[in-house]
Amino acid sequence: MPDTTRRELTFGQAVREALAEEMRRDQTVCIMGEDVAEAGTPFKVLSGLVEEFGKDRVLDTPISEAGFTGLAVGAAMTGLRPIVDIMFGDFITLTMDQMVNQAAKVHYMSGGKWKVPMVMRTTLGATRRSAAQHSQSLHAWFSHVPGLKVVLPSTPYDAKGLLKTAIRDENPVVFFEDKMMYKLKGHVPSEEYTIPLGAADIKRAGDDITLVATSSMVQVALGAATLLAESGISAEVVDPRTTWPLDEKTLIESARKTSRVIVLDEGYERYGVTAEIASVIAEGAFYDLDAPVKRMGAMHVPIPFSPPLEDVTVPTDRTVFEAARALCNRS
């Protein structure tokens, strides 16, 4: 029987629903950032929240990323669960001391006494023609720091379930949303659910090659998998969903099954997420691999503005398809 009640939401709606549900559930949850109230952010993801929860819980701040992120750290230590909104992921550079030296270390430095239950929501992703300071995917930076957790949802379903978990977590969690994905639709059930941090998800099962992909690259990997199927290659798409904690077991199991792996992530390839995951797989599945683990990430350049230039800086369905065919000796 076809599921006629299957509810579809956009990625942006799923994020908003998660925030609204958690704010109804817990009075200590509040949102702060630039243009988060009436404007609902430039992406309109937060539209309607200030009307329901008021300006005491949805706070417009000055353009002071370090200031309001630091404020959130202190508020999290003393009884609130703040969610800070950093409009573009590129602006996390302005919050680094607060996140890296303060939020990430307070629990450890205090011998486990103080806790920082806060969430930073921000964006990643190129191809929006926004040039070098509004297009980067810098999630590897936070993934490098002990004390932080890093979440990279790739579907509306995952966005909602992971964000609810992130808000309930007792630690600082950085939640990266692909700004090109806000209009993407997908199934989101009406019933309450959460998704644990540190559990990878197999987005498509396959036998010949594993495409490990995060965030924006999951759609690219799925597109490549469709092309590969037409060439008789069965690709498995595995989405780690969080870079820390990292579900190493699922990644290694898939690699051992298929024997070939490409790791896709929109961050810079150099010293990035793809390097870490490739290393985990190389160590964990070495004797089952038939080819070196291949990495595909953003080109090692500042993101250019001109469309024909920008488009070649990130992996696409086609480039992944070709790389996968070559890895399977079918080029």
């Binding site: 200590t28 509040c30 005491d56 706070l59 701040t61 000055p62 002071s64 370090a66 200031g67 309001f68 992120t69 630091g70 404020l71 959130a72 750290v73 202190g74 508020a75 999290a76 230590m77 003393t78 009884g79 609130l80 703040p82 001391d97 607060q98 030296n101 303060q102 307070v106 629990h107 450890y108 430095m109 205090s110 011998g111 486990g112 006494k113 103080w114 806790k115 920082v116 239950p117 002990p146 004390g147 957790k149 007792e170 630690n171």
Partner: protein, 331 residues
């Protein structure tokens, strides 16, 4: 603008309060003398930044706070922690990296934190805690618990942009936070006049903060003005800025012995001879006949015994086990 700047006069205080202030200041001095001793005997690892000379600031302010009010401190933070109620034995244990320390030895001298006394942590990033203190005030206001946050920092923090970001936020949100600038004249090894343009107080009044200046060597004056600023913050009248003029008797850290390239011995001797906060209070108490030399000597001998016992405890205490290194990264 100058209407919000006041120089309040010290008022008479009760004998009971005077004795308490004396006891607290002397405790800090005796504590710090033992830190110097432990460090020079190579029993203390790391760095030691002594608070000797500045005792009246921490003591005068913390005396005006409730037990559940918050403070944030600095790398030169032993005095703040003790004044807010930390016990010397667990302080020394932390300084020596022992399991019994406030942070299980994970924080050390520059990171003592203790939720039980409202101490949100000493911070080794200059101005690193300005956001945290502001956030604690934000949470206090939201939760309506009547608490106030005091943010201690040295005049070196005046060079950090984050301070101005949070003062702006604190005034916009009318938060119960007091920014206490301890101007001990030296930003490490450089006189503050070489690093500080313009005026200090007007930096705060420009944001609309209530600002005051006080002789940081006069504990009665510090306590009087602090009580006033804390009370108005608690009543909902918003943040304040207090400039406390003081002096660091010793080097930037214990190893900073030859200081003549940045200040003269005569200058140091003059402050010690004429502006010592403990002696000034003692002289006043004797003059007012609210104490006598035998009572003061009795207090000194009690504190000396307490400090010696605390050092003994810390030296004998065991180190944490190596497996503790991986604990408390996440809550």
């Amino acid at each position: 603008m100058s209407t919000t700047t006041e120089r309040p006069n010290a008022t008479g205080i009760s004998a009971e309060l005077a004795v308490r202030l004396y006891r607290r200041m002397l405790a800090i001095r005796l504590f710090e003398e033992r830190v110097n001793d432990l460090y020079t005997r190579a029993l203390m690892p790391g760095l030691a930044h002594l608070y000797i000379g500045e005792e009246a600031v921490a003591v005068g302010i913390c005396e005006a706070l409730r037990a559940d009010d918050y403070i944030t401190s600095t790398h030169r933070g032993h005095g703040h922690c003790l004044a807010k109620g930390a016990s010397p034995d667990r302080m020394f244990a932390e300084l020596l990296g022992k399991e019994a320390g406030y942070c299980k030895g994970k924080g050390g001298s520059m990171h003592i934190a203790d939720p039980a006394t409202g101490n949100m942590g000493a911070n080794a990033i200059v101005a690193g805690s300005v956001g945290i203190a502001t956030g604690a005030a934000f949470a206090a206001k939201r939760l309506g618990n009547g608490r106030v946050a005091v943010c201690f920092f040295g005049e070196g923090a005046l060079g950090q942009g984050s301070l101005y970001e949070v003062m702006n936020l604190a005034q916009l949100f009318k938060l119960p936070v007091i920014y206490v600038c301890e101007n001990n004249l030296y930003t490490e090894y450089t006189h503050f006049s070489e690093t500080t343009a313009g005026d200090i107080l007007t930096r705060a009044t420009a944001f609309g903060l209530f600002a005051a200046e006080v002789d940081g060597q006069d504990v009665r004056a510090v306590n009087a003005v602090a009580s006033q600023l804390i009370e108005r913050a608690r009543q909902g009248d918003g943040p304040a800025f207090l400039l406390a003029n003081t002096y660091r008797y010793t080097g930037h850290h214990v190893g900073d012995i030859n200081r003549e390239y940045y200040r003269s011995k005569q200058e140091e001797q003059r402050w010690k001879a004429e502006r010592d906060p403990v002696r000034n209070l003692v002289d006043w108490m004797l003059e007012q006949k609210i104490s006598d030399t035998s009572q003061l000597a009795q207090i000194e001998s009690e504190l000396t015994a307490e400090m010696d016992k605390a050092v003994e405890f810390a030296v004998a205490a065991p180190y944490p086990k190596p497996e503790e290194a991986e604990q408390d990264v996440y809550a």
